[in-house]
Amino acid sequence: MSLNSVTIKKILLTAGLLLVLGRGALHLPELHNYLFPAECMESVVKLVTKEFAGIKVDLGTLRQRVDYLEWFQTHNGPDLEVSATRLRAFPFSETIRLLAPGYFWQVNIILARKNQLRVERKLRYLEGLFKNIDTNAPDCRPQAGPAVPATTAAASSLRKEIQPFIAQWPIYSAQLIGLTKQLDRLENNGYKQ
């Protein structure tokens, strides 16, 4: 008996929904922690790795933008030629710089501040997370804030894996403070036509 297209559609639809059902059930906190206890620890490492990668990128962007604004302020004029390097880094800003320098300045200050805020919040969050791990995380109960490992052995292994990040934290924090000061200075001096 050959399957007609309606039957195939029905089978595919049901299979798709069952797949979502199965996947969702596996991700339920209670079941997930029971079935994959090791993933709990991995998820902390993954999270920290991801956040640090994000911080690195955001700090890089912030530094570039602060340099860009500093260059603009130092040369003090909207009539500077468009540069291909800057166009690659900030296509929108470099395009509008000649047309609307005031708007260019305002937009870039806001974007830089937003960037700074994002990094600051991530660093604060990680600071709390590291403190939790330092004080010897006891369990991986579902209501735990960020997932933290169950056993002392797992906790010490986690600490070892996270150690480089803990060492990196003050460096990023110091970089952020420096860039914030630079940004404050730029904003205080403002854009002068």
């Binding site: 969702g24 906190p29 501040r113 604060r124 209501q143 804030g145």
Partner: protein, 560 residues
């Protein structure tokens, strides 16, 4: 002749024509009515909306409404200053020289004030009218579908989906305009589906509901009315007769003109920033597929109606499907218009939840009629889980979770109703509750409390002067007796540090003038915030940050 006699004997009079009712069968009819699915749904909705309504205190935004309502009882109008405290979250930009509130519309404030007048200055009374409006939304969803399309299963399914929508329940249990917005949106759709071109009552209902939507929140008004009008003209052109449409537009304008003059809409438009529009569009569509219409279903509908985008022949002929398309267009248009506004917040989408429930109910019934097993699976996934929303997003690597989320929140695959019931049945004192309790027991009359956030709940629940927060420039006659520097750093709309944060960092010396009290509660950012990205149903077992309260040292406490 008594009405009961007429009812019993089915007599006719020139004014009254009644069907004959079998008196013997009446009790069982009553039982059937009481057990009818919509009554059961409404009872469930009432439980979910009203049980433990005051488990947690008002959080910042609710306390703003409640504080202004409290002042309405005192002054008759919403004043931001009551002689002790100032209510502000926009650095004093919300009121005029006389402290008259001119920022957000007043309807929610007066509704709360009326509730306070009847039920006293309590959390329960403040939230009750809005929870009841949420319940009315569930009934209206049922009634709108049933009355216009005669499809009872669709009506029930839509009402059930709204009843089980935890984000909707969270927002409807707030002392804020959210459920009122949803109610007036539904009322306008209800009126639209009646014969508003020729009858007076539906036309009046249309004007009033749209007008009241403006006084609920004008952002909802602007973002809903324009797309609804355009989608209506596109899909139901024959219903827009010029004369009646013009009259209704004029009457609605007359209703909203006082509000246009009273609220500082023009001044608020200064905070519009073109640069945030792409980000807003991304956020709102992200919210839509994460909490309101799952991505697979959204794609199915896009595919189904693809021809409609370039030809009128693609418009479905079946009235139910046409109405679903109408709602879909309203939602998309609403999001596009909404993206022009400065802040992207999930709360501006709440009035669209009932519309989404109607759409999802239609899709579920369609699936059931196509294949029973798939229909049951889909209904289960939509009613009891958030898996159809989140699992496909995870597969596509669309991760949309703020830092502070944990696995017991709606940002992870979960059974939302279970989380919601856990919070209802096992309440916990949240951050605002802890602060309120602390200051009620520790502070003395005349004390000044400076906090970087959460000032408005403290103002509402305690008798002290509370400064700081997002109120703008801090002016204190003396060093505050209490200082709370919250863990979450607060910035203003231009991403600059809030004045209260600045004041503490630059003007105070907590290390020398204050004693730091580290308390064993989590300094979570918001408290009972309903936003599904932030709402905590259960407390974190291991707090990321503990509350620190600085108590001013008296002279004898000073260490030389």
């Amino acid at each position: 002749m008594p009405l009961s006699f007429l009812l019993a004997h089915g007599r006719e009079s020139p004014y009254l024509k009644l069907p004959k009712i079998d008196i013997m069968a009446e009790p069982s009819t009553r039982v059937v009515r009481l057990c009818s699915p919509i009554i059961i749904l409404l009872a469930l909705g009432a439980f979910l909306l009203l049980f433990g309504l005051d488990n947690r205190p008002f959080w910042q935004d609710e306390a703003e409404t409640a504080g202004l309502a409290k002042n309405v009882l005192k002054y008759g109008v919403p004043r931001a200053y009551d002689g002790l405290n100032i209510i502000s979250q926009e650095r004093g930009g919300e009121y005029d020289a006389n402290f008259l509130w001119r920022w957000s519309p007043w309807l929610q404030i007066y509704v709360t004030a009326a509730a306070f007048r009847l039920g006293g200055l309590t959390t329960f009374a403040g939230r009750l009218p809005f929870a009841l409006a949420g319940l009315a939304c569930i009934f209206l969803v049922y009634q709108l579908v049933r009355r216009n399309f005669g499809d009872r299963p669709w009506a029930l399914c839509a009402a059930a989906l709204l009843t089980c929508s935890v984000p909707f329940l969270l927002y409807a249990r707030q002392c804020r305009y959210y459920s009122l917005g949803a109610l007036f949106t539904l009322m306008s759709l209800y009126a639209f589906k009646e014969d508003w071109q020729s009858k007076f009552r539906p036309a009046l209902l249309l004007c009033v509901s749209i007008g009241l939507l403006f006084y609920t929140n004008y952002l909802l008004f602007f973002t809903y009315v324009l797309p609804a009008l355009l989608a209506g003209i596109w899909l139901y052109p024959q219903e827009f007769r010029l004369k009646r449409t013009t009259i209704i537009t004029l009457v609605t304008l007359i209703i909203i003109v006082p509000g246009l003059l009273l609220f500082r809409i023009q001044e608020q438009s200064h905070i519009m920033k073109l640069v945030v529009i792409p980000n807003n569009i991304q956020n709102y569509f992200g919210d839509l597929i994460q909490y309101m219409i799952p991505l697979p279903l959204a794609l199915y509908m896009l595919w189904r109606w693809r021809r409609m985008f370039w030809s009128r022949t693609g418009i479905p002929a079946e009235p139910g499907e046409k109405f679903v398309l109408f709602l879909g267009l309203i939602i998309v248009g609403n999001i596009i218009v909404l993206s022009l506004a400065p802040q992207s917040e999930h709360r501006y989408l709440i009035h669209l939840y009932p519309l989404c429930a109607i759409i999802l109910g239609w899709v579920t019934l369609r699936t059931w009629r196509f294949d029973k097993i798939a229909g049951v699976l889909l209904a289960f996934l939509l009613l009891f889980t958030n898996w159809l929303y989140l699992v496909p997003m995870d597969w596509l690597q669309i991760i949309n979770r703020p830092n502070h989320t944990n696995r017991q929140m709606l940002t992870y695959p979960n059974i939302p109703l279970k989380l919601f019931l856990t919070e209802l049945l096992f309440p916990y004192p949240d951050v605002n509750g802890n602060f309120i309790r602390f200051f009620q027991s520790q502070a003395r009359p005349g004390d000044i409390i400076l906090t970087t956030y959460g000032d408005l709940p403290l103002q509402f629940y305690t008798p002290f002067q509370v400064i700081g927060g997002l109120q703008g420039r801090v002016s204190s006659p003396r060093l505050p007796e209490w200082v709370v520097s919250r863990h979450e750093i607060r910035y203003n709309r231009n991403y600059q540090l809030q004045d209260s944060e600045k004041f503490i960092r630059e003007q105070l010396s907590p290390a020398t003038d204050y004693q730091a009290l580290i308390l064993p509660w989590e300094d979570e950012p918001f408290g009972n915030r309903p936003d599904p990205y932030y709402h905590r149903f259960v407390p974190a077992a291991r707090p990321l940050a503990q509350v620190v309260i600085y108590k001013r040292l008296t002279r004898r406490h000073h260490v030389p």
